[in-house]
Symmetry: D2
Subunit: 309 residues, 4 copies
């Protein structure tokens, strides 16, 4: 099953589970995958920015992706293949597509500046991985320092038919969604799936602007699924109520660096991960930070029973 531009719903960004000794925790991979399936995810993204991909050897990366693909045969699994060179990108892409991946996600290297450089980079990437491999364009200026305008996204969509999805995480990005949907309405751009990242910080209004869903790794993917569903069903205030209840924790999790430690800690507390361990280099939670997370969970539990751990 290949990724198409009709994708919608929630593609959680899966963390890579490790045991305390740093080895890959295959039991948690299965448990996590089952949980995503159970809460209504419509796809999964592995080895993304917060999937600790650079800490995995090539064979390990392929194995992690392959296990998820096998465990969720009905879900499209997208694999992050961003790399400093096209040789490594191509090698990983081939390996995971052979394992049944639905597509790959590619972030721009942080040296790109001009519009032409950005379009040129994706053109070369497609040449490297093959035009038959659907890809997700990751647009995350805060992290990558690359600014991609709506017009440049339109150029990429037009030139490169294998671009299936935009992982939208510009900040602020609401007007970008509106601009892209306006392009679509005026006929100047084909439809791209737009799933939102950036930790979900603006998911509430992003949905109302025309996004198709979420593509982020917040420690309550079930909340993301609920908010996307409520918003899609037009139950606006319910969507906002649920989202707002999670916002204090979601904001806390979205801190650069330490965010992944928060995410893994909560997922461990929820029984999804055996351990919150990260491979080095990693930012750890101090005892104070851990107490803050517990405080946030306790406060959240007043509104969402799933946080009563």
């Amino acid at each position: 099953m290949l990724l198409t531009s009709d994708a919608r719903g929630v593609f959680p960004i899966a963390p890579t589970p490790f045991l305390d000794d740093g080895s890959i925790d295959t039991a948690s991979i299965d448990r996590l995958t089952d949980f995503y399936l159970g809460c209504g995810a419509t796809g999964i993204t592995v080895l993304g920015q917060l999937g600790e991909a650079p800490k995995l050897e090539h064979a390990e990366a392929v194995a992690v992706a392959a296990q998820m693909i096998r465990r969720a045969p009905k879900l499209p699994v997208v694999v992050g293949v961003s790399a400093p060179g096209f040789a490594a990108m191509r090698a990983l892409t081939r390996a995971v597509m052979d394992e049944g991946a639905a597509g790959v996600m590619i972030a721009p290297p942080n040296t790109l500046r001009t519009d032409d450089q950005i379009v040129g980079y994706y053109r070369q990437a497609v040449e490297a991985i093959g035009a038959d491999v659907p890809f997700v364009l990751q647009d995350y200026p805060l992290t990558f320092s690359v600014q991609i305008t709506p017009a440049v996204i339109r150029r990429i969509a037009s030139e490169l038919p294998s671009c299936a999805m935009l992982k939208h995480e510009d900040w602020p990005g609401l007007e970008k969604i509106s601009a892209l949907r306006a392009f679509e309405r005026d006929g100047s751009m084909r439809h791209l799936a737009i799933l939102c990242g950036n930790g979900g910080l603006f998911l509430d209004y992003e949905m109302e602007r025309g996004a198709d869903g979420a593509n982020t790794g917040y420690c309550f993917p079930d909340m993301l699924c609920d908010v996307v569903r409520l918003s899609t069903e037009g139950r606006r205030e319910e969507a906002h109520d649920l989202f707002d209840a999670h916002l204090p924790l979601l904001r806390y999790e979205q801190q650069p660096g330490v965010g992944l430690a928060v995410r893994k800690h909560v997922m461990m507390r929820r029984g999804l991960l055996t351990s919150a361990a990260q491979r080095k280099p990693a930012a750890a939670l101090t005892p104070t930070a851990r107490a803050e997370v517990e405080h946030l969970l306790k406060r959240l539990a007043r509104h969402d029973r799933r946080a009563a751990l």
Copy 2:
């Protein structure tokens, strides 16, 4: 009255009010100042990053600061004097100190990289403005791309006695506050006032980590004052309840670029500003964004009557 390292409470970052024709709106300056006084602010910062300082001629900048100083004679008024060169920084500093400013705020130019460059820059700045002028060190890596470690802040505090306050807006920054307060406890660093910016996004826990207050421009400075007061009084859950109620709007306002338009729009709706006008260049609110702000206000009003406009 000069700024000292004992400062605490809330120093709102004042926007510069304009009329629709772009002229400075002196009536709103008075109204705004009175409002800050009325809601318990303990100081005011003008001509900060979101005070549109680069759009003011030198004489205008001095006039805006002077008017606030005269209107609030009992409050310390800090003036942003960041500039690409020390000549302009010195000229503005002298002018506003002559008008009675309590001190100045200096952000690092975004070309600084090494620890020594950062310390050297502040050393030169102090030489330029005079060692008798208290200054606020603005630490905002997200905007300035300059990363200042706790050890570098300690060096600056040690070398430069006129450094009175840290405008803390690192992100994530909770551990930085803890590190600085630990330095203070172990006797390796003198006390600096730490007031938090970054839109207030982590004010709730920043207070608990040892911050002395807030130094940001959120459109409800009265909420900032209340949260700082509740937190200081140990009324922890009340502080969080109030903060969390505002978080959806606060997050919305903290978007780079468009954030100031949100802030000025709400302040106009609250009757604090005659107009939400900015001088060019400025990001404007689209009708959709304006509707989103109204939606946020309406939802907020269920928890805080001040948002019922």
Copy 3:
């Protein structure tokens, strides 16, 4: 006399002369101006990147420009007015145009990224300074981190008739000159004067690619004038011979940071400046560096008698 797109020849970037006590050295301003006139310069640029503009108060900056303008009434004098905000840019532009400047030079702020941001910035700058003021587009990615493609330069030239000249200092930039001249030949772009900066490091081949001259501050502006003249007259090998003889020193002078100290030192040794003093902050020449410069001059003197000091 206003700058036009027919400009050609050499516009030296004038340093700002200071006495040892940091005051402006007006005698050297006259001497320097006379020297430029004498060696065949066709214009002068003051208060550029290496003119220490940020260290001058507004009134000083205007005075320096005005003195040069009065001293060289037949030469167009271009004034650097780059500033973090349009208010300061407009104020300085008005003041120097009133004094008889031929135009202004504007560098892009280092936060610009996308093509549209760059075009938009110059559009706003022109709105601020007035469409009747000729301006030089400074294209120096190494220093400003802003990359402007030939197509973007064409857009600016097309949208903004007051853009008269490109200060070309991209690196590598030979193909950019060729691309712009090709646009001109195919009729898609009007003629812009292209004068080359980047310390003159590629002036030899830049002339052959279609540049109109040099716009840089090398300590032997007389050599720049000679090379441009020889190249224009088709005396190719003579141009290269002279250029190559200077290349070791020219390269040494082009070091970021310390380069200006080299330049002022040699100009002092040549009797053009009373002192090599810079205002703070400044990188000084160590004794070893000074000895290296003397060594370079001595070696150069074997080929160019003007270096026998």
Copy 4:
């Protein structure tokens, strides 16, 4: 044979030879290695910044390094292993050390800012590759945007005994060499081999400041060997004469982006490479640029017969 801090002389940065069809040109690898041996190189660095490493699959990279190691059993071969993650760095390091490499070269990722981040990165890298693997610290701010002060280099040398060499390519960097050698003289820092890169643009004076040699890929490595030898023997003016003769071409080759095309073109013209082909993405020489290179060679041949091709 392992790299030690006593290394000196010239370690050419080897390009990776490709045939026109993009396959690795093993015949040229041997020819190139023999040439390096013949002209007096004291080591070789492969898969560096200009070795097109990101375009090689893992197995190809290992094979290229292994072939050079076998062909030059008496020369230490250093292998570039810079990677976005420590897993890939470790995998490549282990593979090439097993093949007999003398050590590895590690560049800092361009996200590092503070002194502590830089030291911490190298600490983690050593942990990843093993403390028994000698490494070269690559200090190239122009390309990597990471600024490493002499004091930070001293910290790294002190903390990490496996740091054997500094590939010095700061710009300007003459004072950095002097500062490091002063540390050594005052006993605060152990000896590190300092070999200079940055295209060799300042090799003449770098040798006089105390550098131990060159570590760059200029298309005339024989000139680098001669200059280093002449300088070491105290034949100062001869060293400068030879260097200056090459400077016009050396400067031309050092253009970012297109420089590698120049280098490979000249090496092909010299019979060292079968083809000047690069794998994609690559900047190609235009016909005009190629003619400029031929012109430079012809002019150079008047001074150095090796350029008469």
